[in-house]
């Protein structure tokens, strides 16, 4: 039972970290609860479909279907996170000011909510399909299934609790800083996802250039440990990154900050500021 709990917990916290950060990043935006719920619900539904068709997906594209699928999901999530950060760079300060003034939620954030709901949905879909497959395996094998199933469900509950912890931990950050902190977290999250995506393309046999390992820090922090996995999700920690992964990681961070900078210094933003 404990084994099942740990396996499921490990998968759930990876999605949970992302959900927690997204929730903190949308703090004070009206309607975000609904959007995040839609994201989670859509993700769970999608995860069940992906689990159901795991065999079909896997065999597609000369056996590289699963890798291409994962790379696409991660790629889409990276784009959504970029969009969100660019949008926040432009509007984040207004939202923070508004929150300080009225102390309640503001309604301007309709745009990034769709992007972040998609990110939540994709994260839940990716990790969730593994949980569904695992639980399916338990039920299919029959023997001692019920104890394992209880373990699995407890794992989901523990993972949800971890998500709440992430969220409330981030909420402890003062209003003034919260959007810059979440922007940083999202930038690192996106860079890590992009590096993971390019490795999936490598596993698919598509992007095989620059595939030499740059360093090996498995002695310091193994990705097999819980902390290693959390860092993997959070900042894209990889114990043996390839040259390509490292380049993509840095390029994504660079692109992210460039985009945020461009968004921040838009003329639209300057005019009302000058009029004050």
């Amino acid at each position: 039972m404990l084994g099942a709990l740990i396996i499921v917990f490990r998968e759930v916290i990876e999605a949970g970290l992302i959900v927690g950060i997204v929730m903190a990043a949308t703090r004070g935006v009206v309607g975000r609860g609904r959007w995040i719920t839609i994201g989670i619900g859509g993700g769970v539904l999608g995860a069940s479909f992906v689990a159901m068709f795991a065999g079909v997906i896997s065999e597609a594209f000369q056996g590289a279907g699963q890798e291409l699928f994962n790379a696409s999901i991660l790629g889409a999530a990276v784009l959504m996170l970029m969009w969100h950060n660019a949008w926040m760079a432009r509007h984040g300060r207004e939202i923070a000011d508004e929150m300080r003034r009225v102390g309640t939620a503001v309604s301007e954030g309709a745009k990034p909510l769709t992007a972040l709901a998609i990110v939540v949905g994709l994260a839940v879909l990716r990790e969730g399909s593994e949980v569904v497959l695992f639980l399916y395996g338990i039920m299919a094998s029959g023997t001692s299934g019920s104890a394992l199933l209880v373990g699995g469900l407890l794992g989901i509950a523990a993972g949800a609790a971890f998500t709440a912890l992430t969220y409330y931990g981030l909420l402890a950050i003062p209003n003034r800083y919260i959007f810059s902190v979440t922007s940083w977290l999202i930038a690192l999250l996106a860079a890590g996802m992009a590096a993971q995506a390019v490795q999936f393309l490598n596993n698919a046999g598509l992007v095989v250039a620059l595939d030499r390992t740059v360093w090996d820090t498995s002695w310091l922090l193994s990705e097999g440990t819980i902390i290693g996995r959390l860092m993997h999700t959070l900042i894209g920690y990889t114990e043996r990154p390839t040259e390509m992964q490292l380049m993509v990681y840095i390029a994504t961070l660079f692109a992210m900050f460039l985009l945020m900078r461009v968004a921040r210094y838009s003329p639209r933003q300057r005019v009302p500021a000058a009029a004050e």
Partner: protein
């Protein structure tokens, strides 16, 4: 119409894929949540394809962070795992859903 064409395209790709898939030198079989062979030797510094055959009815996830691979293999099916180039050394892997019994190691030399 376009949807139909795309569907045909995908089916076509799959068929070609199935027809051209070559036999692999390296095969790992999962049975009763164990890998056979539990140790597999591959040449170092080159890309290698390993076919993982899952003879169990339940799905398994072939995972190895040292080799940067994670791949779900559905029950009663098989999947291709592409790894490398690996520096000489030992690279452990596990079946994530049955970690207690499903373990093995790739030895690159």
């Amino acid at each position: 119409m376009r949807v139909v064409l795309i569907a045909f395209g995908i089916v076509g790709l799959l068929t070609v894929g199935a027809a051209t898939a070559r036999a692999d030198d390296y095969v790992l079989t999962i049975k009763e949540h164990r890998f056979t062979p539990a140790e597999i030797k591959v040449p170092a510094n080159q890309r290698v394809m390993i076919t993982v055959v899952n003879e169990d009815a339940t799905p398994e996830e072939f995972e190895s962070s040292p080799m940067k691979v994670e791949k779900v293999i559905a029950g009663k099916s098989k999947g291709v795992v592409r790894i490398g180039p690996l520096k000489p050394g030992r690279y452990p892997f596990i079946g994530e859903y049955n970690e207690a019994t499903a373990k093995g190691v790739v030895v690159a030399e």
